[in-house]
Symmetry: C2
Subunit: 211 residues, 2 copies
């Protein structure tokens, strides 16, 4: 026994980089962004932290690389649904209500996205910038599928939708720690059914052209 076997670890750069990227995701969804650091990621990935510097340059670049991975932001299709034509048959208000309902559901089933959404309110960093850009592009793309028919309403469509989106973000982020907001349940499907119905009513009554 000469002891102290270095265990000949896989020696595979690509695999190691992936382990690190997965580590970021694992920590974000399990412990939250507050615990995300060089040491934690390295440990989670079972890799020496010096490799983060060697392969990525540092934490910001690692986050940037992580931001390139897909899936943490809902696709437009996820909100539009399988059959876009079906959505188009609805009124402007109903269309947006369905879209925003699906949007909220899509956020709710993405722990990492929820985490970054929360992070965005506390700090500015690579990942948050990426998420923000992705969201803004996504929103523009979405608008193309939800044409702003001038005849359909005289209200400020975009601002109204963004206000509702803000509320959705607030409730989604809050749901990580709290069960309700002054009585509005934000951590159950039933609670969100109710929120969806409130949004539906608001949009139906706000987006009308006959005035």
């Amino acid at each position: 026994m000469t002891g102290a076997r270095p265990q000949t670890a896989t020696r595979d750069k690509k695999a190691t980089k992936e382990r690190l990227l997965n580590g970021v995701g694992a920590i974000l969804s399990r412990q939250g962004f507050g615990s995300l650091g060089i040491n934690a990621v390295a440990q989670e990935a079972g890799v020496d932290k010096v490799l983060i510097y060697r392969y990525f340059g540092g934490m910001p670049e690692l986050l940037h690389a992580f931001g390139q991975s897909s899936g943490f932001w809902p696709s437009v299709a996820e909100v539009i649904g399988e059959d876009p034509h079906e959505l188009m048959r609805l009124s402007l208000a109903d269309r947006w209500a369905v879209g925003l309902s699906r949007y909220a559901a899509a956020l709710r089933r993405r722990p990492i996205t929820k985490e970054i959404l929360a992070w965005e309110q506390i700090e500015r960093n690579e990942l948050c910038e990426i998420l923000r850009d992705a969201r803004e592009k996504w929103f523009v793309e979405l608008m193309a599928h939800f044409p702003d028919d001038e005849a359909a309403t005289d209200a400020d469509l975009i601002s109204t939708v963004l206000l509702v989106v803000g509320a959705i973000h607030y409730f989604v982020v809050l749901s990580r720690l709290q069960g309700d907001f002054s009585g509005v349940a934000v951590d159950t499907d039933e609670g969100w059914d109710h929120i969806d119905s409130v949004i539906l009513t608001i949009l139906q009554r706000t987006f009308t052209a006959d005035r």
Copy 2:
């Protein structure tokens, strides 16, 4: 010169406690809750950190004591305005629109409150609990001044208002770091005038009884 004069610091327990409490507020509004720690508060107050343990017991208790101080949450009067009767002459929708507009303005001019509002989405602690309780009681009290006249609307008044409040919180918290939300300015008076007008439209069209 025998040097090393201990400078005979004021030696006043009450004053020292107050310096510590002020230190909490100063750090919250200048650096944010992320920098709020035993060491930081002690340094800000120009006091040894051991006194925090001696006088309060620890950080949670210090935060609790800070939470008892007044002013960081808007009073009902600040939202109702000087003349309650004037508000009562308005329709349900207009009344709430004015109230929520004043509410947003009250939050915007309170850096510490904004900070705790942000904190609330990230962590649970003494101070956040206190703010939450204060907010919920405040909301109930406010509802008493904004009677839910059953005849005035068939919509879910409370849920709708809370949704708007959620959006307001989101924008207020976001404004600490970002200037806008997909184009909606959240850091200028003009931006908030616009948000207020959007809220007004939504409420006016949602809270109607003639259906």
